[in-house]
Symmetry: C2
Subunit: 364 residues, 2 copies
């Protein structure tokens, strides 16, 4: 039997730096735990544009559809700001999400005990925080047609379309309810049903799926504006939050920042399970390409490493190994090892990206 | 010459309770400062639906277009949750915004010194916070066509349209730049130009207006998801934020909650100035109808009172009197007078809605 396959797309900015630590960890699992992976590496985003004139080559797209999991670093950077919309680095990522049909984006917002002081929020508001945001990722205003800029009379008009079908809502709702059952059994669904018909449909379908298939899970609904407020006011009231692509983009970033340490947060984007029960999947850190610190060896590789832990859990059915890796990360944090982004006002001497990789490997 | 006219629409929930304190303050300005207003009162939201079967009667709409300013309390409540979309309480408010053409929604997020402890954020992150969010209010996904829920094959599809014209963006951008000039001369514009063409047009038009008419103001651009993060991380970096209707809804609520005291925050919704330089205008507290405390005399009337202060400033050209009222509010807070929503964990005895009105009148 062949090894499970991983396509690594380091991308732009600090992407390659943080990903190189993940590659060491993948090797460690092969050597020490007998978990061998077939790893290949390719380009995405600005790096792909520089080489192929497109943020994602067709061959890369094809491989992404064949492998068992894709790991992505980050895309984008000021160098590409003036590129045409159709070839911007982001389009590479959006094409992967769409063609792999990764409709369920899992964004944990978790506050690490050792880092609770980093939050701009009071410690008691965020200590122990553990929310899972499930964001719909392949539809809504990101992909709806018609879209574009056209002329009407002598002025320009910009249009995008928010569009959701019943089945698109149903499948992401199911994925939220399934996750809730493994957590604290609570789902809060967020939309603007008071002003948007697509929000009414969202609320109706989530309610129907709940009643028919998950009556044991506690379900509530909240308008997205109130959701933003409640995340700031008392985030620990939430367990799983399910919401659409655009609200999910904004609310998950808001939730991520509550933890105070963006360099720590992984994400998983999952499709429907195949015949073997394995979903198409892409894993990436929540942080971006951080052009300001690129190439300085300062980047925190933990978000990217924890994204690989999510891959172990959701793609390779290796929950125990995922937990092993997560525990190793917790240990080095508890030991006080810090990259530059995790330095408090009291200072101290930060470790480099590679040194953080070293100590995590040691802890393993 | 006749007195300036005000239409009061107390609305639902705690709306009538908080508005009754504003009515006393309006009287005080007439008696003591020679500022007489012709005040009339009417129904909006659920209250209007109960009486007329519509959340805003045509006669009320007509009067709103005639008077010099509208003061609104709050709309909505669980009683109306199952009403058809077209007659929900919110539709009354949205009709006022649209037909009065109130394109510029000013939402100050200000942290009162005496209340900085109430925020869920650390005191140094929010003390002295003073942001003005300018939200476009009459276009975007709230009003774009096509919209609705229809059948395709055997499933339902929900659609809304995000649509912005050049002139719609230009006028709200101007209003943000004008405000910035009277404040700290900085505007940050937020959209998702990396994924939405309407966001590209937004960014382009804001940039054009800036270069042509307001080169003296400092302008920056931020993706809305990063905006949500930065609001949580370091809100004091902002002066004026300008954004569209939907992002503005979510981001302004996020910003409001940073202050920790929603019961304090007013808003103004302004149209274009008429021949006399007076804009059509509607003033309302940021908080909602708070059905959970309705009728108990517990509601904090300050947000509604400060909304009247904004009316003095923006509709009646009475900046000094507005400041007088704002100072009176600050004084009672500094004196430690608190409604129930402003009680800390250490407790104390809260004053009622009317008592808060009393002390503010005394302070005046
Ligand atoms: C890079 C960008 C296209 C992307 C998005 O808007 O979805 C990012 O913000 C994210 O949340 O993954
Ligand atoms: C009540 C509702 C229609 C409204 C909105 O979504 O605009 C409210 O949330 C607001 O922000 O004023």
């Amino acid at each position: 039997m062949s090894n499970p396959s991983i396509l690594i797309l380091p991308g732009d900015g600090i992407g390659p730096e943080v990903m190189s630590q993940v590659e060491r960890i993948i090797e460690w699992f092969g050597d020490k735990r007998g978990l061998k992976f077939d790893v290949e590496t390719d380009l995405v985003g600005g790096a792909a544009y520089d080489n192929h004139g497109t943020p994602l080559a067709d061959e890369t797209m094809a491989r992404a559809l064949e492998v068992d999991a894709v790991l992505l670093g980050a895309v984008g950077g000021p160098k590409y700001d003036d590129l045409d919309f159709s070839v911007k680095p982001e389009r590479g990522l959006l094409r992967l999400r769409k063609e792999m049909d990764l409709f369920s984006n899992l964004r944990p917002a978790q506050c690490f005990d050792a880092l609770a002081d980093f939050s701009s929020l009071k410690k008691d508001v965020v200590a122990g925080l553990d929310i899972m945001i499930v964001r719909e990722l392949t539809s809504g205003v990101y992909f709806g047609e018609p879209r574009g800029i056209h002329k009407e009379g002598n002025e320009r008009v910009g249009i995008n379309t928010q569009r959701y079908t019943e089945s698109e809502i149903a499948r992401v709702a199911r994925s939220a309810f399934e996750l809730a059952r493994k957590r604290n059994n609570k789902v809060c669904s967020m939309e603007k049903a008071n002003v948007m018909e697509s929000g009414i449909l969202w609320r109706d379908v989530v309610t129907e799926i709940h009643q028919a298939e998950y009556p044991d899970v506690e379900l509530s609904h909240m308008y997205a504006d109130n959701g933003a407020m409640q995340l700031v006011r008392a985030p620990k009231q939430f367990d799983v939050i399910v919401t659409d692509n655009l609200f999910g983009d904004v609310l998950s970033d808001c939730a991520a920042m509550l933890t105070g340490s963006l360099g720590m947060l992984p994400s998983a984007s999952l499709g429907a399970p195949d015949a073997n029960g394995r979903p198409k999947a892409l894993y990436e850190p929540v942080h971006g390409s951080a052009p300001d610190i690129t190439g300085q060896g300062k980047a925190n590789p933990i978000a990217c490493i924890l994204s690989f832990a999510m891959a172990l859990r959701y793609s390779f059915d290796q929950s125990d190994e995922a937990t092993r890796l997560e525990k190793a990360v917790e240990k080095v944090l508890a030991d006080g090892v810090r990259t530059a982004d995790l330095m408090g006002p009291e200072g101290g001497s930060p470790v480099s990206t590679t040194e953080m990789g070293d100590v995590i490997l040691e802890a393993l």
